[in-house]
Symmetry: C2
Amino acid sequence: MLQEIVIEVWTLWFVLVSAIASFVVAFLLKRRVANADPGNEAMVTVQGYIKDGAAAFIKRQYITLAIFVGVFAIVIGFAYGIGVEGDAIPWYFMVLSYIIGSIASGWAGWLGMNVGVDANAKTAQAATKGLAPAFNVSFFGGAVMGLIVTGAALGGVWALYFFTGEPRYILGFSFGASSIALFAKAGGGIYTKTADVAADLVGKIEYSLPEDDPRNPAAVADNVGDNVGDIAGMGADLFDSYVASILGAMLLAFSEMINNNFDIMDINTTTITSFPLVISAAGLFASIIGIFLIAKLVKDSPGKALNLGTYLATALFIGISALFTLFMTLGVNLSADMPSRLWANWGAGVFGVLAGLVIGITTDYFTNDEKTPTRATAESSQQGHALNILTGFSYGLLSVAPPVIGIVIAMGVAYALDGLVGVANASTGMLAIVGTIVANDAYGPIVDNARGIAEQGGLDEEVIQLCDRLDSAGNTAKAITKGFAIGAAALTVLALLYSFMEEAKNVALSYGITTLNLHDTNGIYQLDLMNPVIMICALLGIAVPTVYSAVLIFGVERNAQTMVKEIRRQFEENPKILTGEEPADFEKCIDIATKGSLKELTVPILLAIGTPLLVGILFGIQGLGSFLASSILIGLTFALLLSNSGGTWDNAKKYIEDGNLGGKGTLAHAAAVTGDTVGDPFKDTAGPSINTLITVMSLTATMFLVVFVRVGDGMGLLTPFLI
Amino acid sequence: MLQEIVIEVWTLWFVLVSAIASFVVAFLLKRRVANADPGNEAMVTVQGYIKDGAAAFIKRQYITLAIFVGVFAIVIGFAYGIGVEGDAIPWYFMVLSYIIGSIASGWAGWLGMNVGVDANAKTAQAATKGLAPAFNVSFFGGAVMGLIVTGAALGGVWALYFFTGEPRYILGFSFGASSIALFAKAGGGIYTKTADVAADLVGKIEYSLPEDDPRNPAAVADNVGDNVGDIAGMGADLFDSYVASILGAMLLAFSEMINNNFDIMDINTTTITSFPLVISAAGLFASIIGIFLIAKLVKDSPGKALNLGTYLATALFIGISALFTLFMTLGVNLSADMPSRLWANWGAGVFGVLAGLVIGITTDYFTNDEKTPTRATAESSQQGHALNILTGFSYGLLSVAPPVIGIVIAMGVAYALDGLVGVANASTGMLAIVGTIVANDAYGPIVDNARGIAEQGGLDEEVIQLCDRLDSAGNTAKAITKGFAIGAAALTVLALLYSFMEEAKNVALSYGITTLNLHDTNGIYQLDLMNPVIMICALLGIAVPTVYSAVLIFGVERNAQTMVKEIRRQFEENPKILTGEEPADFEKCIDIATKGSLKELTVPILLAIGTPLLVGILFGIQGLGSFLASSILIGLTFALLLSNSGGTWDNAKKYIEDGNLGGKGTLAHAAAVTGDTVGDPFKDTAGPSINTLITVMSLTATMFLVVFVRVGDGMGLLTPFLI
């Protein structure tokens, strides 16, 4: 349909090429991992348990998801099918787009996780040959996820835009990816911490077993958790953010052009609309090169290699995107101001990615055991449990400020460069090197598992120590990538908020509603906190991320309690487990984690999807916008607080376990373990899931605009009584 | 000057009468406390220590405050003096108003606290005669604070309005009260928790001494802390909120009338402007009667008497305010719509106070040891420290939602009744019975101290148990009053936000600036989150309550560490302290708490006053408004989270100490003590101080509008580069 676009805007082909390139490289790397030596029989057995456990969880999750997606496909069909007027998107297309998005994200997560699981034992085995071989297996294992996620996301968005020429069709795809992310991130987060907390509470504290001890019935579930939570969940989360950031930027640019009476097919419209796609392609090429550079760079210090790789990918992104922007400015028939506009947006993207780096580095400060916060938290543990909690929590509170200032600077500069479109492109720029970010992130759980398998497979102490070094590098890299992810999610949801309001205007206009008039004039553009209806909705918005976090933490606790009872039961009923004469019943624990984590998802999903629907219907479009804005502010605060305090506690414990402040067996260590246990659901369940929550809320709002606009002419049921 | 007002609006005289009545009753009650039997020599000695310690702290604090107020008086003088055009307030008047406000609040706090300290030992002594006599001494002791605070605040506001006829003149008074509150609440909060945490860490945990053991060198500092933090600090905090809520409502009503071209002296202007004062007078009468009813009602259950008294005061307020409103509607020359408007605002006030009650009751649910949250937290303690923390924290997160919904309903109904003026009057209504609230609140630390003095004075176990019962009643009452205070503070600062924006328009107009134009039209009225400058400032706003909380918690920790060292030093250097042969050196601990808590205030004060100044100068008036709005949202969230999770932990510990779940000496108890210690600075330092923070920020913003409007025509230094 829109192939003409691509003839004029030939840089769009780069997008397809980048997606294909990422698939090709991913499959080459996958084969490399597949061909590596899987190690001794014990290792293969353990790896088999992990693989089966992960598959069982994903299978169960995907069945639930299939039902969920099916139901929502029908809901979307009705929302877009019944009584829809104007230039609304045909219902069958929105449903199709939604289903494709779900499948693409689900497929990427499944494939990437499988390679990750496959790389576990092979990394442990490669570690017998040295650091570089082990690093390469694990890093390539993670890189497959990075490339598949980015390729599938970018390819999907490209195809939808290519065949329709309108970014609004991508909305379904993005919402589909969000549905998957909600299940994968929150569900995986509950799973992984259920097993981790339960394994620690009984194994470590009650029975003094070491970490990953094969006698612990929760040991395999703990390893499975790393894969389903930290690999599959994280991949789905970043797939979601990545698509949403591109969608937000395309929607805003497109809508602005149409409002300025440019034709859909005008070269200016297509150029500025496809800009986010093209710079994302630049980021994907940069990530592919970056991945190979990291593998080459690793000599002694895998941590340095990962971080250096991130910096290099950033530099490459800046260079390649400049080249692509130059190509775009050469487009025929561009209006006179378009080249400078493209450069301005390139600048916004560059500022975005640099801000992401700065945010990552400041986040690192709060969780790095060579810096004051973690050291002070470790030292306060000497005064007992309470001061450990207070110190870590307070540093978590402090850690909110620097990223916020980073986001503010990126947003301010981007806005000065090209208004809201600039802001949206800053978020696209921040997420452009997501391939590298996901690769670094997925590396962590792979080496973490490798360490466990080396332990369980009876490999030499030397090999285990090497795995420990690889693991610690993963933690270093994680600090930066996590800051990156939170910063990027914040900018993305802000862009989504703006595109929600833009879309609201378009949808309302298609129903003949010219103003919502909640305040003075031009109401529909505005979220004026001076209007009490808007303020009321902002107040309601603060309840969602808080209740959501509480429910997830409770979910982990409840599930962990069930597993704790099961572990105790096994130890009590069969004393031979503790002596190592008989194997523990891993499957029982895996089953508890699997069933429990899906069950605990009901309320979080209702909150994420139900509350925007309710607020939209009760208070209308502007109220919903303000509700989203406030959830974004509170969500960002808690995402940073929970993630960073959790990271500080985790590393304070590791610092003490490294022999500092008296090491293990001291009050300081016991207190640090308390902090770490509190931090587990903070940093790996609730904290990072808030990003997904906010994205899902924003997309739900945009997706169901066609409904809200029909309730009280977009004012909702209650607003008329209040004004 | 404006005496004519009071001839026409004769109900205004009720305000003066209510203030005088409250003073008279307060002095009668003060004499009654003064005449009570002070007990044996040991008790008088301990009471003397507490009195001296409290006096030392207040003296030092007031010297610092005098310097602070002096400096700020000069700053205000310059801000209002130099180059001010239009109808701005004369600088000398604003300075005077500011100084009067500081002195009134400082005086009320000082007097009320002294009576509270005086009542401590006398309550313990009266307990030898039975429950009712002991209750009456302690409750009357607290009631003096309630009445003095309300009387001084209402009298001050009345006088300023009476002599000027313009509510803007009250701004200085309110800002003065805020300065005191900032020092008293945050400083007192650090003081009290420094002593409490240190006494627990060394005395209870390391040396297994019971609570309030006279051998503990921090025991007296702990008792002093109750007085300076929970009595003087709380009194100053509610003085501040109370004045601010009346000011906000008066400013909004006045400004609206002037904008509708009513004359300042018009009966309609004066009637609707003085309405908040008149219903506050109704509340004060209700409180006075309520206080006597509570004293009569107490038979077996002091807790029930306190709560029943609050309900009765509420009912009385509704009745008396209806009567006063009726009188106001009878005013001659009122325009036709004014009576129904007055009734609408009465309705808003009634809805406010009822919402306050509902919020209090739901808050109670989360901290009452007969309800699920506290029980579940206690039970989870059996699994160790970490699960205690996770459970209490999660319930704290959940507890944010119900009060928010309560505030939303009150605000929605009030807005439907009479727009922003209605919202402001809902906050006035919520705070109208503040006399009862403060009385109930101040009762708590008095009986807490009485218990300590009974212990230290060697009274019978029976008497100590009776004091325990009185203490536990204080905790029950506190749950409801605390919810009340947070809800009222939230509505108050919202009213302040609206009056800030109203005032901004007036001040800007006086400089010939007709629009700030940050978005489309009528810019100055708007805080449109769709504008990225507004969003940037909202993002910055989230950093203030978080950093502020962190700094206060760190302050407690740091100070407690110093005191912990001192206690250990005393025990190690002089073993006779532990055997009871020689007295501990209390003064050293008091000195540490006093100096430390004032030193730790520097950063919190800079945040509260400095950040609004900075944002106002950099981003202008609208940016500052959005910064405030976001600080309100985040502040409310953290105030509820920190206060309620702290309350849950505290009561979970008490529940276990009452012998449940194995009682003392178990892992559950150790874990519950950890939770309580974490909760101490949460619920008594950071949580309640956030109210003060937000009020101070809002008042600073309004106070220095005359400066902001002169920077870039009210747009600030940076905004022009961004738009």
